[in-house]
């Protein structure tokens, strides 16, 4: 670890901290329908959208209607994506003449992008046409994010409203999130990315003549080796910057290219790398300020922010430390940090990012439900890879996905308040609302569905050598980590992967689709139920027995609840995966 590395990490976080407040206050104005400077541009477009689609913007929805409309919209966009993938060969903007996507892969991808997961069982530059990427994948990047923000706003309204039956209008919240927040941000951001070298064009792939021709020896499936001379390099192109912007700002994470944000065309410079990490955390961090503003408890918003910040710094410290260590199994190589090399575990990392930025990116992308990667998590040291895995297992509440992180965190807040209430023997209250058995039941449902999907699917995959184990790229405990990571990432709607696992099989495409749907929609419904229930409650004035939710004590309790729930659920599985691998590696064992 170096001082410069830590400086970069702290600089990144300071940027997030500075920008969270103005954006958070702006979003509060947007969703409370107050005037903003952007109204001149977006209000006419908003009106036009409502007129064309028949939305009554004054209509208020109960939680059930909000949920049903959200599900209907998700279903329609999911099917549209599936259809376009299956038909892409006949559609325009496909200069490479890529074939229609296979049914199971098309389904997996449609589910993946609808649920804000962006799990990718495919190599984008060899599978998806430019039109498919723009019209369906980038589109979902906008709308799965906008839906996430809308849901978080609905929950905030549930907390702040009293004796109300409704939570707002799904269409209005989604439209305002996408027009006022995501679109202007992405327009500027995409151009900044291009200025650093992210490509944005519709060229067919360029064929470059290699400076030095290569002799390549490949071994076929029949065991025969063939030698060929490679003289050209086919360079994949495309409208990457426009998609990259919303991929990061909407915490989606689905790469335009297979190597994701490690690809020089997706993340060319250290500055573009900083922008990408910043844009992952920006909206989730700002939403804590929005929470404080809309519930008229700004200090509570910052207490939640503080809990997230504590968990972030613990994660990045562990990941950075682990990755800066030399791999004890490699010999005759210089893995030390010097002025002229980053050192550490460089397998699966880019020279321009080095160790600090790779460890930071991995932490940020899994704290949030982004899932973009600028280094390959599969090649991380065992404890370095443990951090992304644990971040997702904690529920992606460390800033988290846009919207999803906040509502996930608020579920833990409900639990923390409940536990505090049990400890002092009073009825728990949260911002003037009594937390009763219905709320806690729904919160527990939310918390339990998550590990059930992860551990259930992982267990089934581990028991099936043909379907589950044959996809593994690495042996020993690392193999368990690969499967565990896949279902954790899918259920958590993260989308990053231990990419060695070959997930483009019928079993993984279908079971991961199921995990993604469970992780998104089965968790949203109990969350909205809590929102609807809270909205209907009376406000009780704070008494001596009220546990304040804006103090450092509350932050500590919240962090404690998150860690205890996560550790109790997942420690046994983790001890057989990354932790065991760490011990074996230092004992000199390889697989």
């Amino acid at each position: 670890m170096t001082a410069n590395g830590w400086f970069q990490i702290c600089f990144f976080f300071a940027l997030v901290l500075i920008c969270a407040k103005p954006l958070g206050l702006y979003m509060a104005r947007v969703f409370e329908r107050e005037r903003t400077f952007a109204d001149v541009v977006f209000r006419p477009i908003e009106r036009l959208i409502y007129r064309l689609t028949g939305v009554d913007e004054t209509h208020e929805m109960r939680w059930t209607e909000y949920a049903v409309v959200m599900l209907l919209f998700s279903l329609v966009t999911l099917l549209a994506t599936y259809a376009i993938e299956r038909l892409q060969h006949a559609l325009p903007l496909n200069p490479q003449h890529l074939a229609n996507v296979a049914p199971d892969l098309a389904l997996n991808t449609a589910v993946s992008f609808t649920t804000n997961t962006n799990w990718q069982s495919y190599t984008p530059e060899a599978t998806m046409s430019y039109l498919t990427q723009m019209l369906t994948l980038a589109y979902h990047n906008f709308f799965s994010a906008a839906v996430g923000i809308a849901l978080a706003v609905a929950l905030i309204r549930g907390i702040s409203r009293r004796e109300s039956k409704t939570l707002g209008n799904f269409w209005v919240d989604t439209t305002r999130a996408s027009l006022w927040v995501l679109l202007p941000g992405c327009l500027i951001y995409a151009l900044l990315l291009v200025s650093q070298g992210v490509v944005q064009n519709f060229r067919p792939y360029d064929q470059a003549k290699l400076v030095q021709a290569q002799t390549v020896t490949t071994t076929g499936t029949d065991g025969k080796t063939t030698t060929q001379t490679v003289t050209t390099q086919s360079i994949a192109q495309g409208p990457a910057a426009s998609q990259e912007a919303i991929k990061m700002l909407g915490t989606n994470g689905g790469g335009f290219f297979n190597a994701n944000s490690a690809h020089p065309f997706e993340n060319p410079t250290p500055l573009s790398n900083l922008m990408e990490m910043f844009s992952i955390f920006l909206i989730p961090a700002a939403l804590t300020v929005t929470l404080g503003r809309m519930t008229k408890a700004p200090k509570h918003g910052w207490a939640v922010f503080a809990a997230m910040a504590v968990l972030f710094f613990v994660g990045v410290a562990v990941a950075y430390y682990a990755e800066a260590q030399p791999n004890p199994l490699l010999h005759s190589v210089n893995q030390h940090v010097t002025a002229t090399q980053a050192g550490g575990n460089m397998e699966g990392k880019e020279v321009r990012f080095g160790i600090a930025n790779s460890a930071l990116f991995a932490t940020v992308t899994t704290d949030a439900s982004c899932g973009a990667v600028n280094s390959m998590h599969d090649s991380f040291m065992p404890l370095g890879g443990l951090v992304p895995l644990v971040n997702i297992m904690l529920g992606e509440v460390i800033f988290g996905g846009v919207g999803a992180g906040l509502y996930g965190m608020l579920i833990f807040v409900v639990l923390a308040v409940f536990i505090a209430g049990l400890m002092v023997g009073r009825t728990p209250e949260y911002l003037g609302k009594k937390i009763e058995s219905y709320d806690v039941k729904m919160a527990m449902l939310y918390v339990l569905i998550f590990p059930l999907s992860i551990l259930g699917f992982s267990a089934v995959s581990l028991m099936m050598p043909q379907l589950g184990l044959s996809s593994l790229a690495n042996g020993g405990p690392h193999g368990l980590s690969e499967i565990l990571y896949a279902y954790t990432s899918a259920t958590g709607n993260n989308g990053s992967a231990f990419m060695g696992l070959n997930a483009n099989t019928h079993w993984y495409n279908l079971s991961l689709s199921a995990a993604m749907l469970v992780g998104r929609f089965l968790m949203i419904v109990p969350m909205l139920a809590i929102a609807g229930n809270l909205a209907g409650k009376k406000l009780v004035p704070p008494s001596q027995g009220t546990f304040p939710v804006h103090t450092p004590l509350f932050t500590v309790l919240l962090v404690g609840v998150i860690l205890i729930v996560g550790a109790l659920t997942f420690f046994p599985a983790l001890s057989l995966g990354p932790i065991l691998e760490h011990l074996l590696m230092h004992a000199g064992t390889s697989f």
């Binding site: 390099q233 893995q335 090649s379």
Partner: protein, 190 residues
């Protein structure tokens, strides 16, 4: 329910036009005007022939060139099939590959350990850079092969060494393709 379904259908169509078509076309138009070279991938031409992109690495194995890092993209530096090796740190395949590359490089400097980035595969398989340490390790061999003085080669390397962006971001690095192209020019002009 039926009304909501119709709204969902119409909403999908209308917003797809705005966010799926208008937005990327507007960005493309602006990018092509404002940053034409970068938006198209910073391509390099030599005598009318496209020979690569400034920010996409290429494989170099000849002794007279600076070597790039090992690549797991396709058969190596396949820019239409990017990706890493995804070998675990405890993987035998990783240990064997590194040992093989070490055996190939070690004779150049029997008493120096090899900079780690020179024998590890990058995340993209297209990493255009090596560390300054990895470049310095190869200076002696390249100078010898090209009958150039070590100082001349070292000077070229330092010209191609890019420091941290804005003074503190990222890591110092050397772009291998650009370095090797200039090396060819230097040799040709002699």
């Amino acid at each position: 329910m039926r009304r909501n379904l119709i709204t969902a259908l119409l909403y999908t169509v209308v917003t797809t036009v705005i966010f799926g078509l208008v937005y990327p076309f507007v960005v493309t138009g602006l990018a092509q005007v404002l940053f034409h070279d970068k938006a198209n991938g910073q391509l390099i031409e030599q005598n009318g022939q496209l020979i690569g992109s400034r920010i996409i690495g290429q494989p170099f194995t000849a002794a007279g060139y600076f070597r790039s890092r090992p690549s797991a993209a396709g058969n190596g530096y396949d820019a239409s099939n990017s990706g890493g090796s995804n070998y675990a740190p405890t993987s035998k395949k990783l240990i064997d590959r590194v040992a093989g590359d070490v055996a190939g490089l070690q004779p150049e400097h029997p008493n120096t350990t090899i900079p780690i980035d020179l024998v590890t595969a990058s995340a993209s398989g297209l990493d255009p850079d090596i560390s300054p340490a990895a470049a310095e390790f190869q200076v002696e061999r390249v100078a010898h092969e090209r009958h150039l003085s070590e100082d001349a080669v070292r000077k070229l390397v330092s010209q191609h060494t890019e420091g941290r962006q804005l003074g503190f971001l990222g890591e110092p690095r050397v772009n291998v393709l650009l370095l090797n192209l200039d090396l060819d020019r230097l040799t040709a002009s002699k």
